[in-house]
Point group: C2
Chain length 214, copies 2
């Protein structure tokens, strides 16, 4: 059965999945790269950069699960880019360059649809103005029996959790306090009733939380 999965989603100790003030230069606002330093050291990330090094410990074990068995991704518009409102520019196609790391169809939820964009390496961005349920139906269809990954950001994951559409979720807690930004846990009282939660601390300082639907 096709599952809906979240991977490598990093938050601060105070629960912020992104900081304030997203811009083209700062996708995570004032958080900068601090939520993802653990990830940059993994073999999974280094190999995306064409580098043969990178850690192979517990952070890598979690990081590397993100791609296996995934046939499509759904992401929110702010994970794709910093522009708001009607698109002024179709030239800029996300933060990942010409060959994004997804290598599958990616459904970008936005109230401002635009033509699909086929990138190198098998990633195609489709822009959908749709409910979570409808987006999931489309993504599952595109995934051809494989799983669907929810790529974030914060509000997308919150909404899918609230509608009980998530099967597996991996959240990484970074040992920093951002103080402001978007909180992942808002409105999620009692989530433990629907998920089995495990915690794994890493020598890198982060804590991996896994949520498995009961």
């Amino acid at each position: 059965m096709s599952r809906v999965r979240v991977h490598n989603f990093a938050i601060s100790l105070d629960g912020f999945g992104t900081g304030e003030g997203q811009s083209q230069e700062q996708p995570f606002g004032h958080a900068g790269e601090r939520l993802h330093e653990w990830f940059f050291k993994t073999r999974t990330f280094r190999s995306m950069q064409g580098k043969p090094d990178g850690g192979n410990g517990v952070d890598e074990k979690f990081a590397s699960s993100w791609e296996r068995g995934i046939g499509a991704e759904i992401m929110g518009r702010n994970k794709f880019g910093w522009q708001r409102g009607p698109w002024k520019d179709y030239e800029w196609n996300g933060w990942w360059g010409p060959n994004p790391p997804f290598h599958t169809p990616v459904f970008v939820l936005t109230h401002h649809p635009r033509p699909s964009v086929e990138m190198e390496g098998g990633t195609t961005f489709h822009f959908l103005d749709a409910s979570p349920e409808e987006a999931l139906r489309r993504a599952k269809e595109a995934a051809g029996g494989l799983d669907v990954r929810l790529g974030g950001g914060v509000s997308l994951i919150r909404e899918f959790l609230a509608r009980d559409l998530v099967d597996d979720m991996h959240v990484v807690v970074a040992p920093i306090l951002l103080g402001r930004g978007e909180r992942l846990w808002d409105g999620q009282e009692g989530l433990e009733e629907r998920f089995r939660i495990e915690s794994t601390s890493s020598p890198s300082g982060v804590t991996h939380l896994t949520f498995t639907r009961k």
Copy 2:
């Protein structure tokens, strides 16, 4: 040198150190006992109940540090009791019965001072209308060279952190989402610049965070 320490302070995954609706029956409001289930299973807690059993794993190792080398505690009024405003009743003396587990002077911060109360077993409650700095001066004096423990609740710890008066802090993250209550981390942006933070996950499901002043 006398240190200021926080121990066994439990919060939910979403950062709440207590729920909504404190009452005499529910010191932690709608959180009930869920933040402290890990603690109830430790040898430290069981021996307070006169029971010889209780776990001796990593939760116990953290739990049992709370008493060693402590000469006084400071707590907020809501950790002492549920009453607000002027005291209507001097008869009720905290949630711990006639022989509280502190066995030291305990300074209760309140805008409504009342006479000190000497309990069995060496605990004396003193009621102070004082700034954190002044309370700390009094507590250190009473501690006779030993350390001072900050007992909570949330707002007390937040205030001492904001004034940079904390040396060591142990926070326990319980795998539940309370959704509402008092957040420990509000206003603590950048705390990692002042503390070395370590994370230790326990088989019980909780995560122990330790903050050591740099």
